[in-house]
């Protein structure tokens, strides 16, 4: 029976997937030419704003793995940004300059933190999960404020940036811009592949009906924990970049406002979509900047704008760009 020629059994998925791949590549392509356009768009200031947007896009994409594909509302995801930033800052302060060893440390420590806190939080669901992830983030926030050796409340200015074989690829400017873009592109592609893999399929199914997934022989807890750890590690990478860009680390990176911001980016862009968190993060960072230049009370515009987008676009910004045919 297995010799029978198997026709393409999922042709319905082909079109829209290719379309989302194209949209994502176009967005990344546009980002890639930003440094060339920056003289007309506002120079270094514009460039560093786009870098910040791309860093948040990495964090939002990694949050989408648990929030969108996994259905776990982590309300403390900024904690991984903070961990990534602090590991980077402290390593530089202590004389570790190599980007690869620092990144390895970032992955290790944010992964370990995700493993421990995830193993505890994932025993709960719903509101309890939201509260416990928030509680862990607050715990780290207060620990960092009391870390007086590394600046405590005030944070710590960094005097060096990580190097790769003598090259300062993470120094503000086009070096950092392209390093961030490359990492963004890799993570964007990786998270989508992961979500569409066998592993991701189990994760997406558990969001819809965890009991049924368990009754099919999968250990839902383990799948969610692995997703949570991967997500935490990737958000840690965003934290690494954030430290490089700001040349400064501060406990406020782990604040619940930043966690809430990440959720807004993902929901606004489109939960569990290939380009949603990418578009959402770029949009939120840029629009906030633009609005805040126009008026001091920009939040009065930003709030209703969010509501309108969520109300009128099924599936967020990514939904707006999606082929109509794909939904039918």
């Amino acid at each position: 029976m297995s010799e029978l020629p198997v026709p393409d059994l999922a042709p319905v998925n082909r079109g829209p997937l290719d379309r989302s791949l194209m949209i994502g590549l176009i967005v990344l392509g546009l980002l890639a030419i930003m440094p060339l356009l920056s003289p007309i768009l506002g120079g270094d200031y514009m460039l560093s704003l786009v870098i910040k947007a791309m860093i948040f896009a990495i964090a939002a994409i990694s949050l989408d793995l648990v929030l969108g594909y996994g259905g776990m509302v982590s309300f403390g995801h900024a904690v991984f940004l903070g961990i990534g930033a602090y590991v980077t800052g402290i390593a530089l302060q202590e004389g570790v300059y190599g980007a690869f060893p620092i990144l390895a440390l970032v992955l290790l420590i944010s992964g370990a933190f995700a493993l421990i806190t995830g193993a505890i939080s994932l025993r709960t669901t719903g509101v309890y999960f939201i509260m416990i992830t928030l509680a862990f983030a607050q715990m780290v926030y207060f620990s960092l404020t009391s870390l007086s050796y590394y600046g405590g409340d005030d944070g710590l200015t960094l005097w060096d940036t990580p190097e790769v074989f003598g090259m300062y690829l993470f120094q503000t400017g086009s070096g950092l811009f392209y390093s961030t873009l490359v990492l963004l592109a890799l993570i964007w592609f990786f998270v989508w592949r992961l979500a569409m893999s066998r592993f991701g399929r189990v994760l997406r199914a558990a969001k819809q009906n965890p009991t049924r997934v368990g009754s099919l022989g999968y250990n839902v807890f383990v799948y969610r924990l692995i997703a949570y750890v991967i997500s935490g590690m990737l958000a840690g990478v965003a934290g690494f970049l954030l430290a490089c860009q700001a040349e400064f680390i501060s406990p406020s990176t782990t604040s619940w406002q930043i966690s809430g911001h990440l959720i807004i980016m993902v929901v606004l862009g489109g939960l569990a979509t290939r380009n949603g968190p990418l578009l959402g993060a770029l949009f939120v960072v840029l629009i906030e900047e633009i609005l805040s230049q126009i008026t001091h009370d920009w939040r009065l515009i930003f709030g209703p704008l969010l509501v309108l987008i969520v109300l009128f676009s099924k599936g967020g910004l990514a939904g707006l760009l999606k082929n109509k045919r794909a939904t039918g």
Binding site: M1, L9, R193, S197, R201, N209, T211, R212, G217, Y218
Partner: protein, 249 residues
């Protein structure tokens, strides 16, 4: 006839309500063992205890000689215990094919692949399509779960359970809500299925039960009050009083 699945002395209470009382039963190779009883008798609870969704207070469950009593739900399923749910339990955002392919991958390579796109795994897709064909849903494989009818959901449930090749299959009211023609088709499907995998089937449709069951156990208030062949149960005064009443002629 060897016992594939044995349940010994299973008990469970919700607060002061004893829903399962010292239940003992066996499921043999090649048979359809029907579990009948009035509403609230504890049939679904019994299935939940056997599959491990609910923890039992006492008792032992073995599958092919292996003691499953202390294993969590997912390990019992992985050990070969398949089931369907009384209240349709599928994945509404997945297509019919993906619902079944998800089930298929649990016994075919597992769920830990992180790079290959699962939807284009032709081995899994072919397996899932075969199961859908066998159940009679082949033409609907691309339909989204949420867009399928109640009857189709019942069949999809069954396809998901069958595709994992379980050693024992527990069906909780597979006919519930099906039309007459649909029920008759399903009876035929199940009759051929039981040669492949023994069925423990909870069902209210007496016509279906008496036409396909090899043995019947009657559950009332959590207790098995009668068990035997359809003829034995039909003539058992206690069983008649508890449930069958005028229905069984």
């Amino acid at each position: 006839m060897s016992a594939v699945l044995t349940v010994e002395g299973l008990s469970k209470s919700f607060g002061s309500l004893k829903v399962t009382r010292d239940v003992t039963l066996e499921l043999h190779t090649g048979e359809c063992h029907a579990l009948i009883g009035p509403n609230g008798a504890g049939k679904t609870t019994l299935i939940n205890l056997i599959t491990g969704i609910l923890p039992a207070e006492s008792g032992r469950i073995t599958l092919n000689g292996r003691d499953l009593s202390d294993l969590p739900m997912h390990q019992r399923a992985a050990a070969g215990l398949g089931r369907t749910f009384q209240i349709t339990s599928i994945f509404p955002d997945f297509s019919a094919l993906e619902n079944v392919a998800l089930a298929a991958q649990s016994s075919d390579g597992g769920g830990m692949g992180i790079w290959r796109i699962a939807a284009s795994d032709s081995g899994l897709n072919a397996k899932a399509a075969d199961a859908l064909d066998m159940i009679g849903l082949g033409a609907r494989k691309d339909a989204r779960g949420a867009d399928m009818s109640h009857g189709e959901h019942r069949l999809l449930e069954l396809a998901m359970a069958v595709v994992t090749n379980p050693d024992a299959l527990l069906l909780d009211e597979p006919m519930a809500g099906l039309g007459r023609a649909e029920s008759e088709e399903l009876v035929d499907t199940l009759r051929s299925l039981k040669a492949q995998v023994p069925l423990l089937m909870v069902e209210h449709d007496m016509e279906a039960v008496f036409s396909m069951a090899d043995r019947i156990s009657v559950l009332e208030s959590g207790q098995i009050i009668a068990a035997g062949t359809p003829e034995q149960v039909r003539s058992d005064p206690q069983a008649r009083a508890a449930y069958l009443g005028e229905e069984a002629v």
